[in-house]
């Protein structure tokens, strides 16, 4: 150990490895999972799943341990400023880990049914998770891009994991082509930023953005030479990120990919991948480009307004539940963008809290769809839930909770999340004295009524339609039950007693507060 330390002082101090313990655990677990798959006897691939679940829990424990141990000293940076451990990173990492754990729990049975029970699946989930984790703690464009690609590439494979199914292959291909394109756009934006700032470190970029836009004596009328280039870079970055979070007009891939992918992958894609993309979005826009909030806030506002509308209205006519939830996921990207637009305490809390709740309710909803899934019966149509209240009242009640929470009814977590997102917008409007924030909030909240129309359709089918479409029992496994129980409990807990969860979400505020708040004050 000492030897190692002596030889590598030029690169990094060994103790900096403490910053990435969870990621190391996950990488090792993923590699072991790959080997296990080969060594295990046939039909024992479920063990890999349990092993992966253990790895995720261990990583979660180490994240919590790091929080408890170093929490006072946050933010900690290491690896020449490339990795930054702060409240923001910890909160998002825990959300990803939760998403991954629930995903693994709901996929154990699904893969059996599909006869695709192979250990690679869990290894891929772990690799994707590793990428997400680095997205939360990366503080350098290179790290961020590499981790984004790690996550994206694994997802291309995961989406087409059921190789015998044509839909899955098609979805994977579409997702891959469009994803590669968007990565290119994103990389273009990053290269422009690098060109301007001369550094890939987000802190340096923030400093140079500020010095360009807020040079002493400069105001909005002064011509700033690098400003057009900065704007171009910002727009390219935004476009790339809009694709990742599936915001309009870059949302086209989402319905196809969501519908074609194996359902657990859809669940993971819509929660983990979305949360990770939002972490990236927040890091780049709130920290790196925090100084040009006045430039990007209107752009994001327009995109959020259109995304919310298109997502909700398109979902209304869907009959396939996965496709419907894909459009709902598009509209939720719009709601989450409101938190970044607001860029204040309420907005940040809303972003983190809503992502947490969204993870629970979306994986929960997909979990119910998975429980309907049997060979020959795909169970993906909304009508396949018909009469579920008679067949299995507990599952129907759980689904009702997920749907009402997605809509944002009080007493569910969705309401608390939306409360903060809308509240942040109103606060920002008051602070800046601009009316468009109020209009945006009104627009967004009116559209939640539309969203209730299609969420309630699930409830209608389950409770109001008499006849069960299919009387055979649900395909439930213990792991699936536990995952659904965790999801329901979490949603109700956030809805009824949100205090601890708000405190948890508030941890991201201190990391971001300096970035945007400070520059607003300068202006």
């Amino acid at each position: 150990m000492l030897l190692l330390q002596a030889n590598t002082t030029d690169l990094f101090a060994v103790r900096e490895l403490n910053l990435i313990v969870p990621e190391i655990i996950l990488t090792v677990a993923a590699c072991v999972a790959l080997v296990m798959e080969v060594l295990l006897p046939n039909r024992r691939s479920r063990w890999v799943g349990y092993f992966a679940l253990g790895g995720v829990l261990l990583a979660a424990a180490s994240v919590v341990a790091a929080w408890v141990t170093y929490g006072v000293g946050f933010p900690l940076t290491g690896f020449y400023g490339m990795v930054r451990l702060d409240g923001f990173a910890v909160v998002f990492k825990l959300i990803f880990l939760l998403a991954a754990a629930l995903t693994i729990a709901v996929s154990l049975r699904y893969l059996d049914v599909e006869s695709e029970q192979r250990g690679e699946f869990y290894a891929l989930v772990l690799f994707a998770l590793t990428g997400m984790m680095f997205l939360a703690s990366g503080y350098d464009l290179i790290v961020l891009f590499i981790s984004l690609e790690l996550m994206a590439l694994t997802f291309y494979v995961l989406v087409s994991f059921t190789r015998r199914e044509r839909r899955s292959n098609e979805a994977g291909m579409k997702y891959f082509l469009l994803g590669a394109f968007s990565s290119g756009v994103l990389l273009y934006g990053m290269s422009l930023l690098y060109g301007i700032a001369g550094s890939t470190n987000l802190g340096d970029i923030a400093a140079s953005v500020n010095s360009i836009l807020h040079a002493p004596g400069a105001d909005e009328t002064t011509a700033v030479p690098l400003r057009p280039m900065l704007l171009l870079g910002m727009i390219a970055l935004a476009a790339g990120l809009f694709f990742k979070i599936s915001a309009v007009p870059f949302h086209m891939w989402a319905p196809d990919a969501y519908e074609g992918a194996p359902t657990p992958v859809t669940a993971f894609l819509s929660t983990g991948s979305k949360a990770a993309s939002f972490a990236l979005f927040a890091r780049i826009f709130l920290e790196g480009l925090g100084g040009m909030r006045a430039e990007w806030a209107p752009l994001l506002g327009v995109v959020a307004a259109i995304t919310i509308m298109v997502g909700n209205w398109a979902a209304v006519t869907q009959t396939n539940s996965k496709r419907l939830l894909a459009y709902s996921s598009v509209s939720n990207a719009g709601y989450l963008l409101l938190g970044i637009i607001a860029a204040n305490r309420y907005g940040y809390v809303g972003l983190a809290l809503y992502l947490l709740v969204y993870t629970l309710m979306n994986i929960g909803a997909f979990g119910i769809i998975i429980s309907l899934h049997r060979r020959g019966v795909v169970g993906e149509q909304v009508d396949d839930l018909k009469g579920l209240a008679q067949k299995d009242p507990v599952m129907a009640a759980a689904m009702a909770v997920f749907m009402l929470s997605l809509g944002g009814l009080p007493l569910t977590g969705g309401f608390i999340g939306k409360w903060f997102l809308f509240g942040g917008l109103l606060q920002r409007g008051k602070e800046e004295g601009k009316n468009w924030y109020y209009w945006l909030a009104l627009w967004a909240i009116i559209n939640t009524v539309v969203s209730f129309y299609y969420y309630v359709r699930f409830i209608r089918v389950m409770y109001l339609d008499e006849r069960a479409a299919d009387v055979r029992p649900l395909s439930l496994s213990p792991a699936l039950r536990v995952a659904l129980g965790v999801a329901v409990f979490g949603i109700i807990a956030v809805g009824v007693y949100p205090q601890p969860f708000i405190n948890f979400a508030q941890s991201i505020v201190s990391s971001l507060a300096g970035a945007v708040g400070g520059t607003i004050a300068v202006r």
């Binding site: 109020y438 009524v449 209608r460 205090q499």
Partner: protein, 564 residues
């Protein structure tokens, strides 16, 4: 009787009953479930009677409860009721018993879910009336939609799916807009400069007693310590005194309309009423009883509790839109509602396949117009009448829906043209129907007379023309009710299907008689009821118009506000 945490007990007891039914009974034990549920409703009603111990002389909010809930946003679990809330809560628990008793025969399938939802609905509605924290209020207000959606959607008529989703989405539009208003209000209470102007005197005058003032003071202290805003309703009501110091501000008007939209859809006021007939026609009888008797009052109660005292400058505004003010908008819509509702109801007497239930639904639109007119008369008579009319409407419209339900269970039709000469075969039924029809018309010695008279008198004091227009609606009311009664009960039995109809059973008498008795009681001797509402009403009037001379209260020193 002194029960600790009385309001919480009354609120949550129905929910406990729902949990017991879910846990103890099996799905096929319909008979046991309906008996248990009705007994439980009876228990809740008896417990809620302890609320009648409300100190009418002191007024203000009583039965206070306070408990920390979400300190980060300043929301607390605060309960409290003034006289108006007490009456509405007792009415709710009474209608709960009646509604469950009336469903014994009508509900033949999925009884377990039915009674669970009925109990949950009652918990949510009582919570709305009992909460003293805006956040908590909003929670109950919106959650009450869900059980009603199921009640209409599962046990409703042919077009139940359409009616259920229409009810749900319509009322949701209003409440989400209101949510923005709630958020904005909340941020206003974080504004130290604004809040510091709210005097302790204002808060004292609103709370009406020292306990409530102490509650507000401790809530403010807690909020200041955590750096949050305040959701306490008493405190928020005093915001009105500082929102528009000179002339009415756009902010106040916008907030007024944000709240008003949420409540107006619930009431429902004229252009937002279209969900109501559909919901009523499709809902099962008990659903209609709760809907008309209680849920509509959530809207008018909201106006009484929030719009008037919180935004007084907007509520009495007469010139915001040039020659037209916010108050004009509300009054105009109320009057249109009164006349339109009556005309529409009349149409369903004449129409070949006119539905009696639709008629009663439109008469509700008309009646709630009278409540709104009384509220926006903004004087003690008008408000007393409006509040009393909420109670009375809860009594007679519930009774009419029950009566329609009784005949529907026998004939499975509600078409006016199917009936005729019913008084020959169902004399008891005809008598009760007559009493309730007369109540609806506003015959003296029956309850509606008192409240309509007060509301009209209030409107007359404010502006004689308003009362004149409203009187037109009341005349139409009498017209269609008498006409309906004539067509259904008099003449010969020309439809052979009606010849063998049975008169009301013991169970049906059991749930009709209390309503008849109440109608007579309020009609003959309304003083106990007026006593409950007088102080809270005076407090609201004082809040809206500080200089208005109140009866029995020494007039303030300034010259009385000029009447328009």
């Amino acid at each position: 009787m002194n029960i600790p945490y009385l309001l919480s007990v009354v609120t949550w007891l129905p929910a406990v009953g729902a949990v017991i039914i879910l846990g103890v009974f099996k799905r096929d034990q319909g008979g046991a479930i309906k008996k248990f549920a009705t007994a439980w409703f009876g228990l809740v009603f008896l417990v809620s009677l302890a609320l009648v111990g409300y100190d009418r002389g002191a007024g203000g909010f009583q039965f206070l409860e306070d408990c920390q809930w979400i300190p980060v946003i300043g929301a607390r679990y605060q309960m409290g009721a003034d006289g108006v809330a007490v009456l509405l809560i007792v009415l709710t628990t009474l209608l709960g018993v009646i509604a469950s008793l009336s469903s014994w025969e009508y509900i033949q399938r999925r009884e377990k879910e039915y009674y669970v939802l009925l109990l949950l609905l009652q918990a949510a509605v009582v919570g709305v009336f009992a909460s003293l924290d805006l956040f908590l209020f909003y929670l109950f207000f919106e959650v009450s939609l869900v059980p009603m959606y199921f009640l209409i959607g599962i046990w409703g008529g042919e077009r139940r799916l359409y009616a259920a989703i229409k009810f749900f989405l319509y009322t949701l539009v209003g409440s989400v807009v209101m949510l923005l208003g709630v958020l904005k209000i909340y941020f206003l209470t974080q504004d130290a400069a604004l809040v510091s102007k709210i005097t302790q005197a204002t808060i004292d005058s609103l709370a009406g007693n020292s306990q409530a003032s102490a509650l507000v003071a401790s809530t403010r202290a807690a909020a200041a310590a955590n750096g949050t805003g305040v959701f306490n309703i008493i405190f928020l009501q005093s915001l009105g005194s500082v929102l528009s110091p000179v002339a009415v501000t756009t902010l106040e008007v916008l907030l007024f309309f944000a709240f008003a939209l949420g409540f107006a859809i619930k009431v429902p006021m004229f252009p937002f009423h279209t969900w109501l007939p559909d919901a009523h026609v499709e809902a099962p009888t008990a659903g209609s009883v709760i809907l008309a008797g209680i849920l509509l009052k959530l809207g008018t109660y909201g106006f009484f509790r929030f719009n008037l005292p919180m935004f007084p400058a907007a509520a009495k505004d007469l010139s915001y839109f040039g020659r037209f003010g916010v108050r004009h908008v509300m009054i105009t819509l109320a009057i249109i509602g009164i006349i339109y509702g009556a005309l529409a109801a009349m149409y369903f007497v004449v129409k070949r396949d006119g539905d009696v239930k639709k008629l009663v639904a439109y008469s509700s639109v008309s009646s709630m117009g009278i409540v709104m007119l009384g509220l926006f008369a903004l004087n003690p008579n008008g408000l007393n009448g409006a509040v009393l009319h909420m109670i009375n409407h809860g009594i007679y419209s519930a009774a009419l829906f029950l009566l329609v339900g009784i005949v529907y269970e026998r004939r499975h039709t509600r078409n006016v043209s199917e009936f005729g000469g019913l008084s020959h075969v169902m004399p008891g039924y005809a008598t009760v129907f007559l009493v309730m029809a007369m109540t609806a018309i506003g015959l003296p010695l029956l309850c509606v007379f008192i409240s309509e008279f007060l509301a009209m008198r209030g409107a007359f004091e404010a502006q004689p023309m308003w009362a004149a227009w409203a009187a037109l609606g009341i005349i139409l009311n009498a017209g269609y009710m008498l006409w309906l009664y004539q067509r259904m009960f008099f003449g010969n039995i020309d439809n052979p299907k009606n010849e063998k109809l049975k008169d009301m059973s013991g169970r049906e008498w059991a749930y009709m008689l209390p309503l008849v008795a109440l109608s007579l009681w309020i009609g003959v001797y309304p003083k106990p009821f007026i006593d409950f509402i007088q102080k809270p009403v005076n407090a609201v009037v004082r809040q809206v118009r500080p200089n208005y001379p109140l009866p029995g209260v020494p007039a303030p020193t300034q010259t009385a506000e000029r009447q328009r």
